[in-house]
């Protein structure tokens, strides 16, 4: 079966967590909205009456199923492609971790959009400075400290043990993204999270991930995505 991934073209965004899972799995998929016709199809699917219209991209078409919400898509893909444990306890645990990553991603987005997603960054620069400072003082240590502790407890291999899961791929992306958006702050912070940095490096050299990162399927970070580099926020 060929999957169809629907996500905004031009940014990594939330779609990237799905792309990384599809790439690691070696799954056959089309990144549909990267051409104009696909983009029109995506909008049509969200507006269509009946069925299970997603609230927002990303969503995945898998045969007759249309699955929305990043963590929900990973829940589905994880069990099909060996990217999560099969047993209920492990499946729920990995999903729980992914939902915690999702919460963190929202807070990352809010560093440049504290007054809300509908206003331009340029209209909220001062609040963004305050929110970014608070983010690095309080939230990054709390979230990444939690994941660091888990990575240490499991012998410093992957987050939940010796097998890679989709949450490892997402944490790779978190480290990559924070390095792009906040290079100064992240450089200073990385000494606090040696386990996560090692995990990041372990993911980066997986053959499928390495090939993906070098391909033009990987969109470059930019200032329309979740991880944005604004010098004034990276003090």
């Amino acid at each position: 079966m060929r999957y169809q991934l629907f996500y905004w073209p031009g940014i990594q965004g939330r779609g990237e967590y799905v792309r990384l899972a599809l790439e690691q799995a070696g799954a056959d998929y089309a990144d549909v909205a990267r051409d104009e016709r696909g983009m029109a199809a995506m909008v049509k699917m969200m507006e269509a009456g009946g069925g299970t219209p997603p609230f927002a991209p990303p969503f995945l078409k898998a045969g007759r199923l249309v699955i929305g919400q990043t963590a929900n898509i990973l829940l589905y893909l994880g069990s099909r492609h060996g990217l999560a444990p099969k047993a209920e306890a492990g499946r729920l645990w990995v999903h729980q971790l992914q939902l915690t990553v999702a919460d963190f991603v929202l807070e990352i987005h809010d560093t440049h959009h504290p007054l809300g997603p509908s206003l331009y960054y340029e209209d909220q620069r001062q609040p963004a400075k305050k929110r970014s400072a608070e983010f690095w003082n309080e939230r990054v240590p709390k979230y990444l400290g939690y994941f660091e502790r888990l990575s240490q407890e499991h012998g410093g291999f992957y987050l939940t043990g010796r097998r890679l899961t989709y949450v490892d791929l997402s944490l790779f992306q978190i480290v990559e993204g924070l390095r792009y958006a906040f290079p100064k702050r992240m450089t200073a912070f990385e000494r606090e999270i040696p386990g996560l940095v090692a995990l990041h490096d372990r993911v980066a050299i997986r053959p499928n991930i390495k090939a993906y990162l070098c391909s033009d399927r990987r969109i470059a970070f930019n200032e329309d995505g979740i991880f944005r580099h604004y010098k004034e926020l990276d003090l």
Copy 2:
């Protein structure tokens, strides 16, 4: 099996979505942290080494399982207590809707905490005014318009059809909460969402929910929770 729910005492917060599901199911549960000893046990479980420590409350102890993240807990409870379809497609769809509710809940929280969760409301009043205005202009119509459309399409009964699911309970709470936090704005907006208001009313008269709402197990809304009533944000 007696469930143990762990959540901050004194607020409805995210724990409320779980409480509503447990109450509707008539499940046997203890709301552990509502006394001091339970509160200490909750903190200990988050700090404990090994196992599957949750990042934050709410979490549910179900036998040997410790399940964190509100939507994940509902995923687990839904399949056990007839509050979600058994088949995969329906189960994923209801979970997807719940994750969209979770995103909305975070945006509701941000109306009074745009600069981040670690600062006091009093230190972010002006940004909170801007964020609240943007929330009501852009985000409420988008989110509630989406759920309204779904409720209409399914004949105006429950959100996904004739059977109640956990997402209906959560939408009941959203309507209740917005009425508490923003009584003026919500009164004006309710004419846009007749289907959701009817759904809210249908949930409110379910015998188990009605009994719960009248009991002292239901904590009153207050200004420490997610839905806070600040007059200056409700213009």
